[in-house]
């Protein structure tokens, strides 16, 4: 991960949902290796759409999204799988298979490296199994190796989600409100885990949050989104607390947009 990977470039990206709702509008954004970008904005401002577009869980209507120079919006088949592999995702609802063991959930992050059926029969390489154990140890959950995911607390599940993401050996981590469902203490643990990946492994991290406090504390750069457009973009050194009031007050005046999030899902 020393080779300065994890550069993302969005060029004139727009997304209109089939029902006419505008998800993103002319978004231009360049994020470089090792940045810790927090995206703030009201519900329905397009944060989630933006994040999901980057690894193409959502298709965009217009524009290009380059991950280390490769355009994911036009990739298909194997190429698409490979690009997705390099941008791991962490979800608000953890998205673990609750009836599977922690080990199997973590291991499933590795499938992008296997041909279609080999991984299906659990034929994982020994070094990958060791990697799973190492990643679990990193999030302090090695003792939960055989435990079923549903028997873990929310914070533990999210950390399994992080371990799973690490199995992809990603250069970018996309985190969609990863701490929304967690208490302050667990939030800190999860955020510190992410911070470590950013600082020690040089992973680019893009994270959606609602919490201004978190954004100020962890981000290296803050991007504000409103009605699918970027209305704010500054490195943390230049960020003034009053700016947030601007972002939210402007958006808050327009109540119609607050209901858009339902359309995103």
């Amino acid at each position: 991960m020393l080779d300065k990977k994890g550069n993302i470039e969005l060029k004139d990206v727009s997304k209109v949902y089939p029902n006419g709702v505008v998800g993103l509008k002319d978004v231009n954004l360049t994020i470089g290796h090792g940045e810790f970008v927090m995206i703030v904005g009201l519900s329905g401002s397009g944060k989630s759409t933006l994040l999901r577009a980057i690894n193409r869980l959502h298709d965009v209507t217009e524009g290009a999204i380059l991950i280390d120079g490769q355009d994911i919006t036009k990739a298909s088949g194997d190429k698409l799988h490979k690009i997705r592999r390099s941008a791991a995702m962490i979800f608000q609802n953890y998205n673990l298979v609750k009836t599977s063991s922690v080990y199997r959930n973590v291991m499933s992050g590795r499938v992008g490296y296997y041909p279609a059926w080999q991984a299906a029969f659990g034929l994982f390489k020994k070094e990958d199994q060791e990697m799973a154990a190492a990643n679990l140890a990193r999030v302090n959950l090695l003792d939960k190796y055989y435990v079923k995911a549903r028997d873990l607390s929310g914070g533990q599940q999210q950390r399994v989600g992080i371990a799973r993401a690490l199995m992809q050996e990603p250069s970018v981590i996309l985190a969609d409100e990863p701490v929304s469902g967690l208490d302050p203490k667990t939030t800190k643990v999860v955020m510190n885990d992410l911070k470590k990946l950013n600082e020690e492994d040089g992973m680019t991290i893009i994270l959606n949050v609602h919490s201004i406090g978190l954004a100020l504390k962890y981000a290296s750069r803050i991007v504000g989104l409103k009605e699918g457009q970027i209305i704010y973009d500054k490195p943390i050194a230049e960020v003034d607390k009053r700016d947030f009031k601007e972002i939210y007050r402007e958006a808050g005046d327009d109540h119609a947009t607050a209901t858009d999030e339902a359309e995103e899902d």
């Binding site: 690894n55 998205n95 599977s100 499933s108 296997y114 279609a116």
Partner: protein, 260 residues
């Protein structure tokens, strides 16, 4: 605060709709009974005779029904297994979160609905006509029935799985087969086993009477003993079936509880 309860409208006050429906149903029952001549002659003596004979089971007959009884259960197991396994690929192809092509799903569901609309007994009669008298036709009838039933239960289970893990697997660069194996199958596996046991329960019951149509199993003995007026033996057959069904149900319930 002197508020009187609002008066109900006339129709509701006297339950006009309810009474009319009841009256119509009553007339319909009487008319259909007359048309189908349900009230045929009934010999109390014969009925009493049957009861008395059945109340004294001929236990010496028991050893002879054990083999066909086992055969009945075996038929149910084999039939359920064949149908249950055959249903898996079709269930995946019919699930909207696996196959995006609505046309493919529509065709499969349509054909499966046709298959499921054929009653079990009719299937058995058909197979007896096609492959002849014997257990094979029974097994085939049960297999086709299980196929239709397991298909429906399974594809509905697949459609209602948590979409989150599917999204996660796609985001990780998983191919469709990997998404299915890692995100879908673990979520439906227990349900599938539970459906399997449930279908097996139904099939054991059905299999007990299949012999009546010549499709193998204990039903044949039910038929013969009734035809020869050996009601004392009939009651042994019925009791034996009863015991097996209760046992299978109990076992299946226990296992299904353990699964959930």
């Amino acid at each position: 605060m002197n508020k009187s309860i609002p008066k109900r409208p006339f129709m509701k006050e006297w339950h006009v709709t309810g009474f009319t429906v009841f009256l119509l149903l009553f007339i319909a029952v009487v008319l259909s009974a007359q048309a189908t001549q349900v009230g045929q002659d009934f010999s109390m003596e014969q009925f009493a005779d049957l009861w008395i004979k059945m109340a004294n089971p001929d236990w010496s007959y028991l050893p002879r029904v054990l083999t066909p009884l086992a055969q009945t259960v075996q038929m149910a197991i084999v039939g359920t297994l064949i149908g249950g396994i055959a249903a898996i690929p079709f269930a995946f192809l019919a699930a909207s979160n696996i196959v995006r092509n609505a046309f493919v799903r529509g065709i499969i569901r349509f054909v499966m609905n046709l298959i499921r609309s054929i009653p079990q007994m009719l299937l058995a009669a058909l197979f007896v006509a096609v492959v002849g008298i014997g257990t094979l036709s029974g097994v085939l009838a049960l297999a086709v029935f299980s196929f239709g039933m397991m298909f429906k239960l399974l594809y509905e289970a697949i459609e209602t799985v948590d979409q989150g893990p599917i999204e996660a697997m796609r985001a990780a660069g998983g191919k469709r087969s990997q998404v299915i194996v890692f995100a879908v199958i673990p979520q439906v596996l227990n349900q599938y086993l539970s459906f399997f046991l449930y279908t097996l329960e139904i099939n054991v019951r059905a299999s007990a009477v299949l012999g009546y149509l010549g499709a193998g199993g204990i039903g044949l003995y039910l038929n013969t003993t009734l035809d020869t007026f050996r009601y004392d033996q009939t009651s042994v057959v019925i009791l034996a079936i009863l015991v097996v069904i209760v046992l299978v149900d109990a076992l299946s319930n226990k296992l299904r509880e353990a699964l959930s």
